[in-house]
Amino acid sequence: MTRKAAITVLGDTEEVQRRWGEDEYRPDYIAAADAAVSFRPAPGDRGTEIHVDLEHGAPGGKLGESVLKLTGKEPLSKVKDDLRRFKARVETGVIPRSDGSPEGELAERKIKQRPAQPLPAPELEKAGV
């Protein structure tokens, strides 16, 4: 089972890496897992590849395991959430939200979607919108 995740972000590598480090953009889960993160230019006009390795981060593997036990979730899916949200924010400026997934890409939500109908105010608040 691979413990790696990757995404391609349309943007200059220096710029993407700089944003990754900013408080506003920093992917919380990956930062906490202290995984090994590398940035490299993608071929052609594709932008920047971000590679996350949960096995070879400083204490990443171990923390990954404990999170797995705590939440019952494969931490890799949380890493992927973070990567997708980062990509969306850098490329579009917003977190894409639907009615079924008002929080944006979220592993827990994939199992328990809301109906795709507009959210009442209390649910919006709960979803952090």
């Binding site: 349309l10 490329e91 809301r114 795709a116 109908q117």
Partner: protein
């Protein structure tokens, strides 16, 4: 507000749901003036699309008036009359920059679900299950339109709703199907399915300069519309003779059509994951697994070196793909959900210039509250139904 929601297999109901609100700077709220039932809504209605939830607001063909907008929507003003494309696209990602809007990399917040099903996520779509994002649809009084600075097109008051409504999906989708055929002039194009999308594929192939366009269907009234309204030059009625491939070869003196458009598709399969989906398809009734015939026949009928263009919706796996014919005849297989945003301006000009009046497909007009009747009439092709328009 009132909205038409999915309430289980073969069941929709018009219910009161909360009004949509702006969730992002790039959102707009549209007060809907007209909306339609799409053939692909029937896949949801029939229960063949996984990841539907009771209460999902349906509908991805709609237009109306902008009543509210986020700070990031600079191109629209409150009061603008707009048609909204069915794929939700950010305009910023690599796919959008290459006009592959239905493959937007950011607009589907259920990318993880879509990835399991298709290997990669595809764009968000209004009212079209949770694999395509879980967005509330437009068979309602209002809709939230994400990335409203990219999708919606402003339309003149001089044109009626029914003339421009189908810019949202079926006109561009039919046009896209014809565009994939690389029509240079003089070709023979066969179109499987004379439903609303097939009608526009036929009309578009003619617009592009095809010399013969053959409509294939089993309903005489649809074939008549294809000839009288869309401009088909020939028809194959397979309720009379089911051997479509032989008839197409005979009509083309053995050559086969230069390109074949599949505007039928297959009832999408159930379950998560490709293998599970395949098993469910095999469990399905014989008639449903037969739906793959359109694509198989398209491949068998197409002339060597020709193009098979797939715009009918598929959802899972297909048994008995004619790989021998496909490979040895050197065919090109092209497909996709339409990149509506790419075609909007061009097709809007065609309508304004009077080259086409898309309202010819409308056979039924109903109040939104009658949506359940509309679904039944459309599904069972009662009363010579081709297209149902709903008025909120």
């Amino acid at each position: 507000m009132r909205a038409n929601v999915w309430s289980g297999r073969n069941s929709v109901s018009v219910e009161n749901v909360p009004d949509p609100t702006i969730l992002n700077d790039r959102d707009a709220i549209v007060k809907i003036s007209s909306t339609a039932i799409c053939g692909s809504d029937l896949h949801l209605y029939d229960g063949y699309v996984p990841t539907m939830k009771r209460g999902d607001v349906l509908g991805h063909e709609f237009m109306g008036e902008v009543v509210e907008k986020g700070t990031g929507v600079g191109n629209l003003e409150v009061g603008d009359r707009v048609v909204v494309p069915f794929p939700i696209a950010c305009g910023n990602c690599w796919a959008c920059r290459h006009e592959l809007y239905s493959l937007c990399e950011n607009s589907n917040p259920n990318a993880g679900i879509a990835e399991k099903m298709f290997g990669h996520p595809t764009a968000g779509i209004f009212g079209y299950s949770h694999i395509t994002g879980g967005y509330a649809g437009g068979q309602a009084e209002y809709a939230r339109v994400p990335f409203a600075d990219i999708g919606p097109i402003k339309v003149d008051e001089g044109l009626s709703d029914e003339q421009v409504l189908f810019l949202s999906d079926i006109f561009p989708t039919g046009y896209f199907g014809a565009d994939l055929c690389d029509i240079q002039g003089g070709e023979t194009i066969a179109v499987f399915g004379a439903g609303p999308v097939g009608q526009f594929a036929i009309a578009s192939a003619i617009l592009m300069g095809a010399e013969r366009v053959i409509a294939i269907d089993e309903y005489d009234y649809r074939l008549k519309m294809a000839v009288n309204k869309a401009g088909a030059t020939d028809v194959v009625d397979f309720s009379i003779d089911p051997d479509i491939v032989e008839q197409l070869k005979e009509m083309t003196a053995g050559r086969g059509p230069d390109a074949v458009i599949d505007a039928v598709g297959m009832e999408a399969s159930h379950g998560h994951g490709a293998l599970h989906a395949a098993e469910r398809v095999k469990q399905a009734t014989r008639s449903e697994s037969d739906r793959g015939h359109a694509l198989r026949d398209a491949i068998l009928a197409c002339r060597p070196g020709g193009i098979v263009s797939v715009i009918g919706v598929y959802g899972g796996l297909l048994d008995k793909f004619p790989s021998g014919a496909f490979m040895n005849k050197g065919l090109q297989l092209r497909a996709g959900q339409c990149h509506v945003q790419k075609y909007l301006k061009r097709l809007y000009e065609h309508i304004k210039d009077g080259n086409i009046d898309p309202s010819f497909v409308v056979t039924h007009r109903m109040e939104l509250g009658k949506a359940p009747d509309g679904f039944e009439t459309f599904k069972h092709k009662q009363d010579e139904c081709v297209k149902v328009v709903l008025k909120p």
